[in-house]
């Protein structure tokens, strides 16, 4: 095998009752991401370019929980995390708590290649982004109606939990996804 690429868009309990149209959207999104990686690698591109481009494609697809389409925090905002690692050099870049970077994976690559560090968090990660030319967006860029409704249901349930006490593990277990 000269080259190979694999991708995921999250794991968990995925209803088998998805409407055919929605099911097809997921297959189409995955196909598009696979093609993105295929094109990079077939043309002789690097594994690093392939994983960045594939993840960017998935971040821009509102069906998946990354970039546009990310879930909501308890405060009703979006906080994004990303990491990238180059197996040929063991170099890595990672970020957590980003709020205005359109494609966190690309900033992770900049961290890896241009900074002396590996991992930035929260406000520091945003300040690092200010020193780069990565595309910035308002936090509501990541909004999708589906995730908003999911968050509202989670909020309602969390109030119920506080009344009847459930452990964090039970709570997470009930709604973990990707």
């Amino acid at each position: 095998v000269e080259w190979a690429v694999a991708l995921h868009g999250g794991a968990g309990t995925i209803s088998q009752d998805l409407p055919d149209s929605v099911r097809q959207q997921y297959y189409d999104g995955l196909e598009q991401a696979v093609r993105t990686g295929q094109i990079v690698l077939r043309e002789g591109g690097s594994a690093l370019d392939a994983v960045e481009q594939v993840v960017k494609n998935l971040e821009d697809n509102p069906l998946f929980n990354a970039g546009r389409g990310s879930v909501f925090t308890s405060e009703g905002t979006h906080e994004l995390d990303a990491a990238i690692m180059d197996g040929s050099t063991m170099e890595a870049g990672a970020l957590t708590g980003l709020t205005t970077v359109k494609n966190p994976v690309s900033l992770a690559r900049i961290v890896m290649e241009q900074s002396n560090h590996i991992f930035f968090s929260g406000q520091g990660a945003e300040q690092y982004a200010d020193q780069t030319d990565v595309q910035r967006v308002e936090n509501d860029h990541f909004f999708t109606q589906n995730r908003y409704e999911q968050w509202q249901r989670a909020q309602e349930q969390s109030h119920l939990y506080s009344d009847t006490y459930r452990s964090i593990y039970e709570s997470v277990n009930a709604d973990k996804f990707g």
Partner: protein, 133 residues
């Protein structure tokens, strides 16, 4: 969560993962995704990206453990991923995608489903959602 792993024509491996985290997460909670070695890892042996219950994936230092099982334990990539899913993690906790330096691809999970896809230079291609597809 989304992720990708790749092997290029020069034999180099890479991994990347990105996420919006967990719905309704509080207090700056961080999962496995940006933790190098847990949710994302690549070396000269394997590249791995994880998805699922971040706390559990972190506890097992999952992505690095998979690569170590291949490098030091004599496991195939498939055996290493399966070991994590079946022996270290509990059902419904995680999914992994991985590729090794020979271009072997593994996409497996102990959840009912994982959005996933792969292709290699021989034209082997998969796009699947549920485990029984």
């Amino acid at each position: 969560t989304v992720g990708a792993v790749a092997l290029d024509m020069n034999g180099n491996l890479a991994a990347a993962t990105s996420t919006g985290g967990m719905t309704n997460k509080q207090f700056g909670r961080v999962g496995d995704v940006p933790i190098i070695g847990s949710g994302t890892f690549a070396n000269h042996v394997a590249a791995v990206s994880a998805t699922g219950w971040g706390e559990k994936i972190m506890q097992q230092v999952s992505a690095n453990t998979i690569a170590n099982l291949v490098e030091f334990g004599g496991y195939s990539l498939q055996e290493a991923v399966d070991y994590l899913l079946e022996e270290r993690l509990q059902p419904d906790e995680a999914g992994f995608i991985a590729v090794d330096s020979e271009g072997n691809i593994v996409m497996n999970m102990n959840t009912p489903g994982m959005f996933r896809g792969s292709i290699d230079s021989r034209g082997n291609k998969e796009v699947k959602i549920w485990i029984e597809e």
